[in-house]
Point group: C3
Chain length 219, copies 3
């Protein structure tokens, strides 16, 4: 019941944004696949992994199986569509780097918020709901990088997962305080998006162990 309630709150917009997020993340997977000179299947597999792994992992962990991404055909279609577009027009997609980063920040914001909301509807601790929201946002990127045998980008220097964490935390805290759901989701997503986008534009990063100086722009 509670899940239905959550879904109705935000309505069809959620689904549209969720699919857009999947599409954008799938683009990032396909770009990585093309760069590693994978064949067309490999590119599509990376698209699917990047677009859906976060949500699938969340659903498996909270026991919502089969995962939403496998219940209907539209998530799969969005991922494979992104993969085919990238494969066919790989140079173009490479040149669109800046709008893709914008959309990627939007995808992260949306997934972190919707992931945290879905987790809250299941039997997990609030802190876990924050983690699961973050995981929904970053899971696709992590698997994408692991599949090409690289250390996941989100584990390296840059505020990415932390932006997701912030967005998810706002939603979970607000729900605990029984604040209205829709403004809360917008606030969480806005915080995540703003943080992530500012990071990209300004080159912010998190401290490393043993660093003395405060965080600053990379040279």
């Amino acid at each position: 019941v509670r899940i239905v309630g959550l879904a109705v709150d935000i309505g069809a917009i959620t689904i549209a944004l969720d699919l857009l997020g999947t599409f954008v993340f799938a683009l990032s997977g396909a770009v990585v696949g093309v760069r590693h000179r994978l064949d067309v299947f490999g590119v599509l597999a990376l698209s699917f992994a990047a677009g859906n792994a976060g949500g699938i992992l969340r659903d498996v962990l909270i026991g919502a199986v089969p995962p939403a991404a496998l219940r209907g055909w539209w998530y799969i279609a969005a991922s494979l569509g992104a993969g085919l577009v990238t494969f066919r027009w790989s140079r173009l997609v490479d040149r669109l780097r800046s709008p893709v980063q914008l959309l990627d920040a939007a995808g992260l914001a949306l997934f972190a918020v919707s992931g945290a909301r879905k987790a809250l509807a299941f039997d997990v601790a609030p802190l876990s709901a924050v983690l699961l929201g973050t995981l929904t946002g970053i899971g696709g990127g992590v698997l994408r990088d692991l599949l090409v045998a690289e250390v996941p980008t989100v584990l390296r220097r840059e505020i990415y997962a932390v932006a997701g964490l912030a967005g998810a935390a706002v939603v979970v805290l607000g729900e605990l305080l029984r604040l209205p759901s829709l403004p809360l989701a917008v606030a969480g997503a806005g915080l995540c998006f703003g943080l992530r986008y500012a990071t990209v534009r300004r080159g912010w990063h998190l401290p490393l162990a043993g660093e003395r100086q405060p965080p600053s722009r990379e040279p």
Copy 2:
């Protein structure tokens, strides 16, 4: 009920072939482990991963837990048996490359078909059943390669996953059209096996992004 019906259709042959598939995939895992100079435990772990990861992943995703591979001891025994054989006679197994490729193609065909059939019996979209069948076929090989920190072979140039996809698609399409199950399974497995085996013998591969010429034999 439906699962039981599916199982009875093809009967004991399915179990025998399933175990053979597990054994053969486990051989491939053990060979990779020996090549990377892992110790006997590492070799057995890779055998188990290669032989069972695809089916376990499928079962987790459709909510059929504990996975079939952990319900009885025979899958574990088949994997560990393959690992011990390879560990003891590693040179021999290395020399048997050609028959192993034949059996590997058979394992892929069987896993793709049985994986798609099992997924269909659960609450997933038909397109997802095709993906889950493919995943059952390739999952073991992907985990095997990730565990030794390599980009999975199936993501690189060669028709492997696509053969699994074709076999799974035949089964799912046919079941949607209510064609008889047994001939359908045989047709799907035959297509997958034929495609995969022809690929190995003729050196076919899928196009890369930016390639101009049509697919051809590698030099």
Copy 3:
């Protein structure tokens, strides 16, 4: 009911030791993160993965979702605490290598035994319960290493997983023979701990394929 019985047998000590195990494994994850120059989020992510992946994987495989690690906040707190300590005092933790190895052996022993006990309470074969116990013990370390794109340490030369396997096997065999649970758990954990600790002190390792000489100290 059976799970409750198992838990009461060993009581609050189990929880304390379980949290200690999580903390110690999380330390190992954080150390690896610092060495790979990850940022503070990356270090915390590796802490969480190393401390909890084994138990989460076991819970997903036996269908006990949401996993115990996500049900309450204490496991998360233990992992993040270990990560922050390491991040702040990374040189100190590095110097404490020997006590950390001791605690790590204790964590392995505890996780292998508790993992096998929990798996037994679900619908898996005894042999699978042994594997699941081992997986609980080693899963965190495997994911930790995969996330930094390295071949997992436990797959390489050294008796680690085998110690976990031995501890889990003692527990499963004893439960099948209906021996009393508490002494059994102590015996299994003791065997695992002793085997692992002796290995570290004496440099034992398992044979590689093609090796002629018996296992001996590395030069």
